[in-house]
């Protein structure tokens, strides 16, 4: 999800440590194995490197830098280490890592470099190499986003596991006075050919005395025991008995509760407030004015200013908040509306050709000489994240030290933001990351963390838990931006596609022009268009925008895959055959496309829905975060013209499928998430204010509306690529294409509806 952020990061990082770059070429490359400070260990516990500790009771503790927000990363990551270590999975447990450069997320940054995904050229490699060096040296860049956790830690965790295994074997060999080569590890024990055996716990102290192996040999895929298996989630049990701790569940002693209301107008703040009526209510400790909070240290924008009530119970805080009389400074955006933003986008496209993000062949000539052209205009709205757990954070500021329980995707940035807000060094900030009740990109921003930290200054050392109401969460999101896109295609006299031109308008989310990622998924398309131009016009509004599950892919897949479908129809070709031809020599894409078509019985006519309604089906394929996903949607419409999606077939190539169960879960979840947006999701603005407030008027899909989903995973030996986000982009165009197949009507605006 951090596409946008990571571009900023590159800049920010270079800015911060630019001076360090000089002389690095001579320095040895630091491996991602040992932390700067040795890991803290408990009684009878040893650390074998920066990623794993072993206890006398045989517990293997994996140091976990990545947040768990449902995507299953913590389970997948632990599997990587446990497999190479030959640990007993039942003895594996997790502990939150500290902030250290070895945990910095390199993949999310390097993947965000402005190169074509298929570009493996020198410039990209050199930039990636340099960036890698920078990231390895600067702590605080660990974050969970961009579907990157397993990609990033695929090698470090396996190397750490293999290294730990070698040390345990070394310890056993020394104990038994036998050559290490005669020993092997299996399921949490080291075994010798003679029949001797010892558990990891029994060997831990000796293993810790062994030197770090200089080289380790990683397993071949055939040797994997856990990787590739549908291992159950490590977080299952506590999430079924209520004992899992999310942000809103942390209970430090003496906890106070805070409730907040922020200016309803985007960009607004508090002009004045009168807390007299609130302050006399039971349990109220303090009423605090909060200035607008920056989105994060690396993202533009800020969250509206507001007033918070701190009280002894959550209800006392909420009740008193309604009694605070607040005068708002609505700021410059008080006249803003969805219509005015829409007009701005239209005017931008009327008046500018846009900045070119992709140009191949001779587009102007190709369009001019085309025997036939088609044109279409697509539109997507603002979208909220609406995580089930609203934004919240708990903070305590005592004796100059800030302890912050932050359900955040960006622990590193959160730590820095708290330090800055409180004017203390980052070494005095302790960020604890509980489970996240959903993230989807919203929790990469640190505005709510800063608010909690500022409230913690007001409580004489008592911890305070700030919880946004659903209404505040809905009205103060960083939304997926609204976009308008004009598409034009040209065909020769034989009906062959010869020209492809798209120009979009919308927010670039504050990116400098040369790092603009607005056309992600459109400019770096897999289609081999003979003559193509993909351009973008940046149009900003006062509405805060941010990273929403799959970022710009969420709109660009809709534009591209819908219009490709229009092109297929325009030349009378089958949508699958048309795409396959356009994919040229890209066998990976074609394999995914054809597999989806095969499972869907694409060549056979589609029968009626279970209730007898006539069905249509559509296909879409899209690559994001390194993974290729194709989806076929089967849809019908009711007599009242309501759209129903009955079944979705989903095929993904995400490299080696580390845990097929988790991959299936993510495909299903991403489809439901994308369908909620495709069928209903829309945030609208009137008088500068977000009009949606709760799940009645921003209504995600419910069980009765959820389609059957069939997922197929392509077997691959490539390094793992993203899984959390790539399932979302194809669903909206797949449904729109299915509706076209069913009705002959092309819906070009999200959410999809028949007028």
């Amino acid at each position: 999800m951090a596409n946008i952020k990571r571009r900023h990061l590159i800049l920010g990082t270079v800015g911060v440590v630019g001076a360090l770059v000089i002389g690095w070429s001579a320095a040895p490359q630091r491996r991602r194995l040992l932390t700067d400070k040795p890991l803290a260990v408990g009684q009878g516990q040893v650390a074998l490197n920066g990623w794993v500790k072993v206890s006398a009771d045989n517990t293997v503790t994996v140091m976990m830098s990545q947040a768990e927000m449902g995507q299953g990363a913590q389970t997948g990551l632990a599997m990587l280490l446990a497999d190479e270590m030959d640990a007993d999975w039942a003895q594996v447990t997790l502990e939150q890592s500290t902030l250290d450069a070895i945990y910095n997320n390199q993949a999310v940054l390097i993947d965000g470099l402005p190169f074509q995904p298929n570009d493996h050229g020198l410039a990209k490699r050199a930039t990636g190499h340099l960036l890698g060096k920078i990231i390895r040296a600067v702590p605080g860049l660990q974050g969970t986003g961009g579907s990157s956790s397993l990609t990033d830690q695929w090698l470090p965790l396996r190397q750490a596991g293999a290294s730990a295994r070698a040390m345990l074997i070394g310890g056993a060999a020394a104990l038994w006075q036998v050559p290490a080569g005669e020993c092997r590890a299996e399921n949490g024990r080291v075994l010798h050919a003679s029949g001797k055996s010892a558990t990891f716990g029994e060997l831990a102290q000796r293993a810790a005395q062994m030197p770090l192996p200089k080289e380790v040999t990683l397993k071949t895929p055939a040797q994997f025991k856990l990787i590739g298996q549908g291992v159950r989630r490590i977080d299952n049990a506590t999430k079924l008995d209520g004992s899992a701790t999310y942000g809103i569940d942390v209970l430090p002693p003496g906890l106070l509760y805070a409730s907040i209301t922020m200016c309803p107008t985007v960009g607004g703040k508090v002009a004045s407030f009168d807390a007299a009526a609130a302050q006399v209510l039971p349990g109220v400790r303090k009423v605090v004015k909060l200035e607008p909070a920056k989105a994060s240290s690396v993202m533009p924008g800020s969250t509206c200013g507001g007033v918070a009530v701190i009280a002894d119970t959550p209800f006392h805080a909420m009740r008193a908040l309604t009694k605070v009389a607040i005068g708002w400074d609505h700021g410059a955006a008080a006249a803003l509306s969805s219509d005015s933003i829409s007009s701005d986008l239209k005017a931008a496209l009327d008046g500018a050709e846009g900045k070119v993000h992709l140009e191949t062949g001779r587009i102007a000539q190709a369009l001019q000489s085309a025997a036939k052209t088609i044109e279409a205009e697509y539109r997507v709205p603002f979208l909220a994240h609406a995580t089930m757990e609203p934004m919240n954070c708990t903070a305590q500021f005592k004796d100059g030290v800030a302890t912050v329980w932050a359900p955040t995707q960006a622990a590193g940035f959160a730590s820095g933001a708290v330090a800055k807000a409180l004017g203390i060094p980052e070494s005095k900030v302790d960020i604890k990351v509980p489970y996240l009740g959903g993230g989807f990109g919203r929790r990469y921003l640190t505005d709510f963390v800063v608010q909690a930290a500022l409230l913690a200054r007001e409580t004489q050392g008592a911890p305070v838990q700030l919880l946004w109401s659903r209404e505040q969460d809905m009205a103060h999101d960083y939304y997926r931006p609204t976009y308008l896109c004009r598409c034009k295609a040209g065909f020769d006299a034989n009906g062959k596609l010869t020209a492809w031109k798209t120009t979009s308008a919308g927010s670039s989310m504050g990116m400098p022009a040369f790092m603009d990622q607005s056309t992600d998924g459109a400019s770096n398309t897999a289609y081999a268009f003979p003559n193509a131009r993909v351009a973008h016009v940046t149009v900003e509004s006062a509405v805060p925008v941010g990273i929403w599950r799959s970022v710009a892919h969420s709109q660009n897949a809709f534009f591209t895959e819908s219009f490709v479908d229009e092109c297929a129809a325009a030349c009378g070709q089958d949508p699958v055959a048309f795409r396959a031809e356009l994919l040229g020599a890209d066998e990976r894409h074609k394999r995914v496309l054809h597999r989806a078509a095969e499972i869907a019985n694409w060549q056979q006519p589609l029968g009626p829905a279970p209730d007898g309604a006539k069905q249509g089906r559509g296909i879409a394929i899209h690559r994001s975060f390194g993974s290729v996903v194709a989806q076929v949607a089967e849809v019908s419409i009711t007599e009242q013209r309501q759209i129903r999606v009955h079944r979705v077939i989903c095929v993904i190539d995400c490299g080696v499928p580390v845990n097929p169960n988790l991959i299936r879960q993510q495909m299903e979840g991403a489809i439901v998430f994308g369908l909620s947006a495709a069928l209903r999701g829309e945030i609208t603005i009137d008088k500068g204010q977000v009009q949606q407030s709760n799940f009645n008027n921003y209504a995600p899909l419910r069980m009765s509306e959820s389609p059957a989903i069939q997922v197929d995973i392509i077997q691959s030996a490539d390094a793992p690529s993203g899984v959390g986000e790539p399932g979302t982009p194809p669903i909206a165009p797949a449904v729109a294409n299915a509706l076209y197949a069913l009705t002959g009507m092309r819906l070009r605006t999200l959410p999809l509806k028949f007028a």
């Binding site: 989630r233 209520g242 209970l251 993230g439 659903r470 879960q665 489809i671 439901v672 799940f695 419910r702």
Partner: protein, 154 residues
């Protein structure tokens, strides 16, 4: 002081009668397995059992539960809960998990009413419980699994 009968214990609660049950559970009693999602009875994350029926604790005031039995995810008593938890695990339902306390409480109440529910019954009973991770089809499958196992004589 109001007395709350929760998870089999009678506990005096220092809270105003209009306080929503959700906030009594979470704030006063530190029973935080029951979640806040919307505050308006729209999402089901706060579902608890009141005399065995699934209710939304965020819109149920403390005064309305006097003399009645409240059960939360921490102390749920229902013949099918073990089968449901096993089925949830077996089917790999959970993702972020935030809504799952409410889902399980709703599923318990459903199976009590209808031990072998059809898809339509499940949809009707469970569609008040939102899940942004989209675990719906697995929840439906898990309820069928639980119904089948709980139905067997031990």
């Amino acid at each position: 002081m109001p007395i709350l009968n929760v998870n089999g214990k009678s506990i005096p609660v220092d809270a105003e009668p209009e306080t929503p049950l959700l906030w009594v559970l979470r704030g006063e009693l530190k029973l935080v397995g029951t979640k806040y999602g919307c505050g308006k009875g729209l999402c089901g994350a706060c579902t608890v059992h009141l005399d065995g029926e699934a209710v939304r604790s965020c819109v149920t005031p403390l005064e309305a539960v006097q003399g009645r039995e409240v059960r939360t995810i921490e102390g749920v008593q229902c013949p099918q809960i073990d089968a449901l938890r096993q089925a949830w695990t077996h089917v790999d339902v959970v993702q972020c998990g935030y809504c799952q306390s409410g889902q399980l409480m709703a599923a318990c109440a459903l199976l009590k009413r209808s031990p072998r529910p059809s898809d339509e019954e499940i949809d009707a009973a469970m569609s008040g419980n939102l899940c942004r991770c989209g675990t719906y089809t697995r929840i439906r499958a898990a309820i069928h699994v639980a119904a089948a196992t709980a139905g067997r004589t031990p």
